[in-house]
């Protein structure tokens, strides 16, 4: 039984059935959850009255994240704890609305624009949804090329986050300012991974994490280029490739392109050895410097992922077989609840997802067009296939609506998406096909990194005892190795196909012009979970719903007032920063927490286009939304 809260049970054959009657999905029953509860407004007001150290902490925008995210917290600076939190996506995304009535092929190119960082993931996910709707199966090499593109895209993504966005939080410039006692210790603290990263001390690592000038920052900038080059060698263009099509890819593949790809891929063998050593050393150093760093960004071990990187021999695009082909992926689909793997079945993962809009600037919708999925399993009225996007901007109010992000929940629990969810689920599920590079053990994932300029190295990511900001970053470093070696597996398979003369990369298709078809793309972005659910009517898009990782993570509270993942993680974060005067408080622990999720808000929110086009900057006000009167929810300026 993988659901604690949804009224869905499994019979002996594993088929899902609805428990109770048609009202089983109603929202009156309080779900069982394990996350923290923020203080009520009354409790905060009472504390405010007697404690001069309680203050609003607003980050608007949260810097060093892609896109528009604002964060509001109330913190007790004397007790050094956070009392309440609100995560705000400050712009409307709107792709679901833009897609309505269009030719479904437009989805590939339009939804791709949801993000310039994850520039290839949406086009593939939309193709998967179309393939399911049309019953279209790509040839093996088409599947392999698609895998390779996304494996290498993530190795653009992770270095960017680890060293350009999150990395500076652990740099000398920041640590010396916010925690001078930690910097003092770091200066002479021996770095155990010296043989792999080349640094004698943690202080030297911190020095090179300095933004703009640090060697690790500049090296990561260079590695993003290597990954992009590898992508365009196969995919032609990045971001927003034109070569991703339903039924495969439209690019020409040869031994030469494969070799050119490999020349770039192999640079990540050594780079991942280095990144892992750096983030292992940094994490363990901070835990030693102050064990309470293990509490920074901690939240329940609830993670979900759809898996990614298909097995060309198994993938047939159908929903009825998706449990089988999903479990054959290099990254196994799964849901982790309270640290336990509860399912690896895509049908269960799909049945478990719901989206709520109670705290978001949208209207609710009526009706439930699809009470069951194509295999006959029950679906919630709040499932993406049933959801409608009805934007309704209103005043910002913490007690009511305060975000353009919806609230996705899995089994009505706050879950988290992230690259590291892949590591965790692969490790726990032990379902990988035999291969020379990746070995899950049930409690860890061993990754064998081949010799390049540096010797071969086997690294082992272990399922962490505590789940926090540091483990997110450490996991992301291991994901660079995971991506590289999944790519290596696919590259070898691709060579084999070329040798056999199986060079076809796409299957012709025709868009159906009659009837209703539904499909879903179960895939992933650099930051984890990505789904596109579509409904076609007479050849046109009748509904299109995108759930991105940052929508899951940045979500506001749910109908039961349970916080979203960012909100939970910040609520649990102790304020370990050194300051005597509250005026000197920088909020570095809160920022480390938020950034550890690798927020990428363009896919969660995008543009607000009334009568004009917003092509640039948006500022919001996160202050004082507690007031009863309406506030302007967003001030947008075009320039």
């Amino acid at each position: 039984m993988c659901f604690k809260n949804l009224p869905i049970e499994f019979d002996e054959s594993g088929k899902m059935t609805l428990r109770g009657d048609g009202t089983a999905f109603d929202l009156r029953r309080q779900p069982q959850t394990i996350g923290p509860k923020p203080l009520s407004d009354e409790q905060i007001k009472s504390l405010l009255a007697k404690n001069g150290y309680i203050r609003d902490v607003d980050f608007d925008p949260v810097t060093r994240v892609a896109g528009a995210l604002a964060f509001h917290a109330v913190a007790d600076l004397k007790e050094r704890k956070v009392l309440t939190t609100n995560s705000m996506a400050t712009l409307f995304r709107g792709y679901e609305v833009i897609m309505l009535g269009r030719d479904p092929r437009d989805a590939i190119f339009i939804t791709s624009r949801a993000c310039g960082v994850c520039g290839g993931v949406h086009s593939v996910t939309s193709c998967l949804a179309l393939e399911m709707a049309m019953g279209l199966v790509p040839p093996p090499l088409g599947v392999i090329v698609r895998n390779l593109l996304l494996e290498i895209e993530f190795n653009y993504d992770h270095p960017l986050h680890l060293f350009l966005l999150a990395g500076p939080d652990y740099s000398r410039a920041i640590v010396e300012q916010t925690n001078p006692e930690v910097w003092e210790k770091a200066k002479s603290y021996h770095a155990p991974g010296r043989d792999w990263h080349g640094y004698e001390t943690i202080g030297a690592i911190m020095e090179d994490l300095n933004l703009l000038t640090g060697k690790l920052y500049l090296e990561a900038l260079h590695m993003t280029r290597v990954a992009r080059e590898a992508y365009v060698v196969l995919g032609g263009k990045y971001p927003h490739p034109q070569t991703i099509v339903p039924g495969g890819v439209s690019t020409t593949i040869s031994l030469q392109t494969f070799n050119e790809f490999y020349l770039r891929l192999q640079k990540f063998f050594d780079y991942s050895k280095k990144c892992i050593a750096i983030w292992d050393d940094l994490t363990e150093f901070f835990y030693t410097a102050n064990p309470r760093y293990k509490e920074v960004g901690t939240r329940p071990k609830n993670l979900v992922d759809c898996g990614i990187w298909d097995d060309p021999e198994s993938y047939d695009s159908t929903y009825v077989n998706c449990d089988r082909w999903g479990e054959r992926r290099w990254s196994t689909p799964g849901a982790i609840v309270d640290g336990e793997l509860v399912t690896t079945r895509l049908t269960a993962i799909n049945a478990g997802i719901e989206e709520f809009v109670d705290r978001s600037y949208y209207e609710t919708w009526n009706g439930q067009r699809f009470p069951r999925d194509p295999s006959g399993n029950p679906l919630s009225p709040f499932h993406p296939w049933n959801k409608e996007t009805k934007p309704k901007p209103t005043g910002q109010n913490w007690k009511e609506k305060y975000s353009w992000s919806c609230t996705p929940r899995w089994d009505r629990q706050t879950t988290e998406a992230g690259a590291y969810a892949r590591l965790w689920i692969i490790a726990a599920a032990k379902k990988l096909r035999p291969n020379p590079f990746l070995e899950p053990t049930g409690t860890s994932l061993k990754i064998k990194l081949p010799k390049a300029a540096r010797p071969e190295r086997e690294v082992e990511w272990k399922i962490p005892e505590t789940w926090n900001a540091f483990e997110r970053n450490r996991g992301r470093a291991y994901c660079i190795a995971l991506n590289a070696m999944a790519a290596m597996n696919d590259w070898l398979k691709g060579l084999d196909l070329l040798k056999q003369g199986k060079t076809e990369v796409s299957t012709p298709f025709k868009i159906p012009t009659k009837g209703t078809q539904i499909g879903a793309g179960f895939w992933g972005a650099g930051r984890g979970w990505l789904t596109h659910h579509l409904v076609l009517e007479k050849g046109h898009v009748a509904n299109y719903q995108i759930v991105t990782p940052s929508t899951i993570n940045a979500s506001p509270r749910d109908p039961w007032d349970n916080p979203g993942a960012y909100e939970e993680a910040v609520l649990n974060t102790p304020l370990l920063e050194t300051f005597d005067d509250p005026a000197d408080f920088k909020g570095v622990d809160i920022l480390r927490t938020i950034r550890s999720f690798d927020p990428c808000m363009p896919c969660t929110t995008h543009i607000y286009a009334g009568k004009r086009v917003i092509s640039r900057e948006v500022n919001t006000c996160a202050c004082g939304a507690d007031d009863e009167h309406e506030h302007s929810h967003a001030v947008a300026t075009a320039r």
Binding site: R64, L212, V613
Partner: protein
């Protein structure tokens, strides 16, 4: 002098796309060997990577872009870019925006300067757009101004002497 004439901006935003449109027009012309034309709208970080490997490096950049400088549209002005770096946090914020897909001419120039690939002499031709909606067509006013934009770009690329080029506003159209 090795010179790059470039446009920058989003596509399909009517007059706001004047940078890429002007670059495409200029590409059709014949140019001396030391003058190249490009569209630099593919992301400042990638532009850094490409310019870092360009040999010999460019000494002059003439950049064409749309921007609101408060003039009655359609109008254009050209300036010598002062190349003063803002503080590190500001630069970092621009790098993050660039990584997230934002195309912006100031971000481009500041990021190129931060990573030491900005040509030593930079002229910016900014154009005050009439129409900024979605669309592939220029407004009629901008279409009339386009030949002047291209002429100024040619002059700045081939003849400019920074000391005699004053910041200028023109709305001849």
């Amino acid at each position: 002098m090795r010179t790059l004439i470039a446009g920058v901006g989003y596509s399909n935003l009517s007059d706001s796309s004047i940078g890429p449109i002007a670059a495409a027009e200029l590409k059709r012309e014949s140019w001396p060997a030391d003058i190249k034309i490009d569209d630099l709208s593919y992301g400042p970080i990638s532009v850094v990577h490409n310019l870092a490997e360009t040999r010999p490096q460019y000494e002059r950049l003439v950049l064409i872009t749309a921007a609101d400088f408060g003039a009655q549209p359609p109008a254009m002005r050209w300036d010598l870019w002062p190349a003063i770096l803002p503080d590190a946090e500001d630069v970092q914020a621009r790098v993050v925006e660039a990584a997230g897909g934002v195309i912006d001419w100031k971000n481009l120039l500041i990021i190129l300067q931060q990573f030491d690939v900005l040509p030593r002499e930079v002229f910016v031709i900014t154009v005050q757009p009439v129409k900024t909606d979605f669309g592939m067509e220029l407004s009629s006013g901008m279409r009339e101004l386009l030949p002047e934009i291209l002429r100024v770009a040619r002059v700045l690329a081939m003849n400019a002497k920074p000391e005699v080029v004053q910041p200028t506003v023109s709305n001849k159209a």
